[in-house]
């Protein structure tokens, strides 16, 4: 009998591991305020992903916020376990416990993407609500600081933001994991639990 393998699961699991490695070095979203001394850098910069968030500011080395670091670590561990368990499941999708492994792992990348997108939307709403100016999620804009903050002097700052390729990779990985869940139905149709009592045939 040919051994069944969930190829989408393998792609999703390997993709998840690759996404983790990539996200430690390349952010999903970059936000720059003003411009730094070298081309392409900002006066203040935020490099954000659900797995690694760091900030650089005027005259400071790169730093992170402990609360965000904890959230990043949570996502890192969740995705790592999700990816490994997805790979284990994919090589043995017919085992009785495989469905449980799949159900545990396939949603993790989707959760990471949802968490990230929700955080971005909350950040933009909070900035608008608390500080009174709009920041772009993608693109650049001249942000006019409220006069109350600038002692009557008019100050506007060029800000720019961009979603980088690991974000699109995360969408692809989340998609592959969902496809793996759907493909599981095809290769391992749900087995009805066997009844303890013998079924009586009707006459």
């Amino acid at each position: 009998m040919q051994r069944k393998i969930n190829w989408f699961g393998i792609a999703g699991g390997a993709g998840t591991i690759a996404l983790i490695v990539v996200s430690l070095f390349v952010p999903w979203w970059i936000f720059k305020v003003g411009s730094g001394l070298t081309a392409g850098t900002g006066l203040i910069e935020a490099n954000i992903s659900p797995l690694n968030a760091n900030f650089t500011g005027i005259g400071t080395d790169s730093f992170t916020v402990p609360l965000i670091w904890a959230l990043n670590l949570t996502t890192l561990l969740t995705l790592t376990f999700g990816g490994i368990i997805m790979l284990i499941y994919s090589f043995m999708p017919m085992k009785p416990y495989s469905k449980r492994l799949l159900d545990f792992s396939y949603k993790k990348p989707l959760y990471a993407v949802a968490f990230f997108v929700t955080s971005l939307v909350i950040i933009t709403f909070l900035t608008k609500g608390l500080l009174g100016f709009n920041i772009p999620i993608v693109g650049s804009a001249n942000v006019q600081l409220p006069q109350a903050m600038t002692s009557g002097v008019s100050i506007s700052v060029l800000v720019s933001a961009d979603l980088l390729w690991p974000f699109w990779l995360s969408l692809a990985v989340a998609g592959l994991c969902i496809v793996a869940r759907l493909y599981h139905r095809r290769i391992a149709p749900s087995q009805k639990p066997v009844s303890a009592q013998p079924t009586q045939l009707s006459k």
């Binding site: 005027i58 904890a70 949570t74 002097v153 008019s154």
Partner: protein, 175 residues
């Protein structure tokens, strides 16, 4: 199956709560640092630097008869603990006495201003035709006039600062 379920549930709980619990325990003496780390205050100190923001100080000016341009020189002291790049300057020059527009200010190239140092900033003021008529009719024989600059706008590291008050430049030569 039940053991597997328990292990997966344990993993979920541990990964969700473990890191958060770890940082709360680590920062339990100073919970505010959980959200605002020391680096933020360091950054604010670096931004504010050793003192207050100092406005550029007018040093001298020269008139170029061939190009009808006044070259103004300012000294700017960077009180920030960070190197700055002055990218542009703009503003309208007016005769202080008669409010007549004389010309428009621009920066002659970008200027790097190292942290804590004073750098000379060359600013050009291209005079309008009306300015020359104004000098002939309202300031006949004068070697210099008092000028004020309105809407002075500086672009420093893509942060644009526009002053609401005018800046006075005394005794700008016109011949």
């Amino acid at each position: 199956m039940q053991t597997l379920g328990a292990i997966l549930t344990l993993i979920t709980i541990a990964t969700a709560l473990g890191p958060m619990a770890a940082v709360v325990i680590q920062y339990n003496n100073n919970l505010s640092e959980l959200v605002v780390p020391n680096e933020v205050s360091e950054m604010l100190n670096n931004t504010i630097g050793t003192g207050q923001f100092e406005m550029p100080v007018f040093v001298s000016s020269q008139y170029d008869n061939a190009t009808h341009t006044v070259r103004l020189t300012f000294n700017f002291t960077n009180t920030f603990a960070y190197n700055l790049t002055l990218k542009s300057i703009s503003g309208d020059a007016q005769c202080t006495l008669h409010n007549q527009t004389l010309g428009f200010l621009s920066l002659n190239g970008t200027v790097e201003i190292p942290a804590g140092e004073t750098t000379q900033i060359p600013v050009l003021c291209a005079l309008t035709e009306n300015a020359e008529n104004h000098f002939r009719t309202d300031h006949p024989g004068a070697a210099s006039v008092d000028v004020k600059v309105l809407d002075l706008t500086l672009n420093v590291n893509d942060v644009t600062v526009q002053l609401s008050e005018s800046v006075d430049l005394p005794n700008v030569p016109v011949v």
